[in-house]
């Protein structure tokens, strides 16, 4: 089994926030904490693009590097998890994460800033699998039930893919091959614009800028 990853197809995402709702519901995530959110570029402008963002379970995770109490670990499947009993809620991981994945509840044992909460790839935490303690601290452990994360499985357009990086990038590649375009949407050209165009504008339909195809993000 290779590394578990998420991949969001910006061509398919319709900004329905179903993934956000599924995550909240499945893991009983407290009010004010969003493990997953949908980001829209050029919102309201024709050609807008949305992607669903959560912890990307980085292969070389900056949150792990900066944690002063070393509460992060990477599971055998490449899922980045943490031990809430050890977390001191310092927020370093929040500053280090390029995706804004670590979330801090506004109430709890530490008063203003509680222990960090983030997407677990529906893999729970270090508590016994499927236990009440695990659910209370980390949410449901779907992976141990042989299921994939709720957000990806609930996605109505299957824009959000979750699973083994090799498998989901192959699914995405097949999709792009069928529709003839799409690899240009996800990445550089969307964020910085085409080489000679205005920055931040999504490329016009049918125009494929010279950007290499991207697979699963780390």
């Amino acid at each position: 089994m290779a590394r578990m990853k998420f991949l969001c197809d910006a061509e398919r995402c319709i900004e329905c926030n179903g993934c956000v709702t599924a995550c909240k519901q499945e893991n009983d995530v407290p009010w004010g904490v969003n493990r997953r959110r949908v980001v829209t570029i050029n919102d309201g402008v024709p050609g807008e693009r949305s992607i669903s963002v959560a912890c990307m379970h980085c292969s070389d995770a900056p949150c792990m590097a900066v944690c002063p109490v070393d509460c992060f670990y990477r599971s055998e499947e490449g899922v980045v998890l943490h031990d809430k009993d050890l977390c001191i809620g310092c927020g370093y991981c929040f500053y280090a994460c390029p995706f804004g994945a670590p979330q801090f509840p506004q109430q709890g044992a530490f008063g203003v800033r509680g222990k960090m909460d983030k997407c677990t790839f529906c893999a729970g935490g270090p508590e016994p699998d499927g236990s009440a303690e695990e659910f209370a601290k980390y949410g449901r452990n779907r992976l141990s039930e042989g299921k994939l994360p709720a957000c990806a499985e609930m996605c109505s357009t299957k824009a959000l893919l979750g699973g083994d990086g090799d498998v989901i990038s192959e699914i995405y590649r097949e999709r792009v091959t069928h529709r003839g375009r799409g690899s240009d949407i996800w990445g550089w050209a969307t964020a910085y614009g085409p080489p000679n165009g205005p920055a931040g504008k999504a490329p016009a339909p049918g125009v494929v800028p010279p950007v290499p195809a991207q697979g699963a993000k780390s």
Partner: protein, 74 residues
């Protein structure tokens, strides 16, 4: 007087040359070692009870359900 001047020049030279020393400009982060409770693999508990290949097959099947071209035919 002369000895003092030599000493002052030597000190100034030492300070000036200290700026020529080369130090690495890129920070290399070291991953810490996990200090928390150990976790078990997802296939360790029920319903798979340690049967890894069974768990992997279930996950593989599940992953392909995200591919419409395979699930309902392209």
């Amino acid at each position: 007087m002369k000895a003092g001047l030599v000493l002052a020049l030597a000190a100034a030279a030492a300070i000036a040359l200290a700026g020529c020393g080369e130090r690495p400009q890129v920070v290399t982060y070291k991953q810490g070692s996990y200090q928390g409770k150990p976790d078990k693999p997802p296939y360790d508990s029920a319903p798979f009870n340690g049967n890894r290949s069974d768990w992997e097959n279930v996950i593989k099947t599940r992953q392909q359900k995200q591919n419409e071209y395979r699930r309902i035919g392209g």
